[in-house]
């Protein structure tokens, strides 16, 4: 494309140079002036070749520098950084796993401690309950013994009181008979009468 279009304006510049006997620079100057007024300077094709050649040289040089020097340098650092980050992440993961294991152990120890505490508490409770039961039974036995003793004492006292009562009643009946009849009644008869009354 560049080759075809190049050839068009250059002959005109040459004929200019041929026609005017002045130097090439002056001819060129008039040519640029003419083309300048004609349109965009971008379409002055006599300038294309030099620019294109120079651009290609610079681009190739830059490409070689980029692909051989700069990109590998950056790539190396980026890879290094990626590996550093990956290492840090993996070591953090290892630490995390370790911490998890430790936490598990702690949790298990806590559960063990709680279970043993519960066991101890249950044991203590049963022991205390048994002790209380024994004490209660002992107390009850003592109390019932005391009750039995008290009851027998009461019976004895009642029996004594009953005996005493019949004597008193006999005496009272004897005294009443003596008062009413004025005669002395034999004690044995009075006693038998009282006893028969109940």
């Amino acid at each position: 494309m560049a080759v075809e279009t190049d050839s068009a304006p250059i002959p005109s510049a040459e004929t200019d140079a041929d026609v005017s006997s002045a130097g090439a620079a002056a001819a060129h100057g008039s040519a640029t002036e003419a083309e300048h007024s004609a349109g965009l300077p971008q379409f002055q094709f006599q300038h294309w070749g030099g620019q294109i050649a120079y651009l290609l040289i610079l681009f190739v040089a830059l490409y070689i520098l980029m692909s051989r020097v700069f990109a590998p340098r950056v790539r190396r650092v980026l890879d290094e950084r990626a590996s550093t980050i990956a290492d840090a992440i993996s070591s953090a993961k290892a630490l995390q796993a370790q911490a998890d294991v430790q936490a598990d152990e702690a949790r298990r120890a806590l559960a063990d401690a709680r279970a043993s505490a519960q066991r101890t508490a249950v044991e203590a409770r049963t022991r205390a309950a048994a002790a209380a039961q024994a004490q209660k039974a002992e107390l009850e036995a003592e109390l019932s013994a005391k009750q039995v003793e008290a009851e027998s004492r009461i019976r004895v006292a009642r029996d004594a009181a009953m005996t005493q009562l019949s004597v008193v009643a006999t005496e009272a009946a004897e005294a009443m008979l003596e008062k009413l009849t004025g005669a002395k009644t034999p004690r044995a008869a009075v006693a038998a009468a009282v006893k028969s009354q109940g």
Binding site: S7, I10, H36, P41, H47, G49, Q51, S67, E80
Partner: protein
Amino acid sequence: MAANDPIHQFQIEKLVDFGVVNLPLFGRTELAFTNSHLAMTLAFAGVVIFMSLFTMSMQIVPGRLQAVGETLFGMIDNLASSIIGHEGRKFFPFVFTMFMFILAMNVLGLMLTFTVTSQLAITAVLGLMTIGLVIAIGFLRHGLGFFKLFVPSGVPIVLLPVIVLIEFVSFLLRPVTLALRLFGNMLGGHVALKVFAGFVVALGAMAANGGLGYFGIPGAALSLSMVVALTALECLVAFLQAFVFAVLTCIYLNDVVNLGHGH
């Protein structure tokens, strides 16, 4: 007069003239070190200096300059590997060279008086280089199977001739659009900048004459604010066009690298 002409900034000026020579590929050519060559050299040197500085003493934890370089590098790297796939790394140097060179030329164009990427010769060569690489890879990898690029699968037989024609024309237009997009953006942006900057001077000169000319002052102020806004926009465009070129390069390369997989 010439200084106020918005087109004059694209004029190639010879700084060192070597006369007319016969180049092997281009025929008779005026060989000279022009302002275009100077700007290209500066862009090339800028890219090389930037890349050297930032890759010279790279750290695992990046510094400021390294972070900038790595951002650009990573952006194009991600682009290449996400569009082309696992083979993206192979083509990364080409895409990155293209991106950095265009970016440097665009950005330098905002600071110098000459913008290389506003030269159709340059953008056309960049576009042809890209499509040339695409065609070369296509034939090297697939031989005549390269032409499957123009035959999408799953198209009814009846429509096939039309589709093939459309695909073929769109492929031919790829380098043209690549070249014209960059060229047009740079040309348009710089012409607009120059026109508004010219308004500032012209209206300011009107105001300097006094009288009714004082009405020129608000116009000049408005033009100046337009220049500021356009400069900001051009900074964006300078980056964006380099990026778009890189994206399209990746997409076109993907077409032939993964021929038959993506279609």
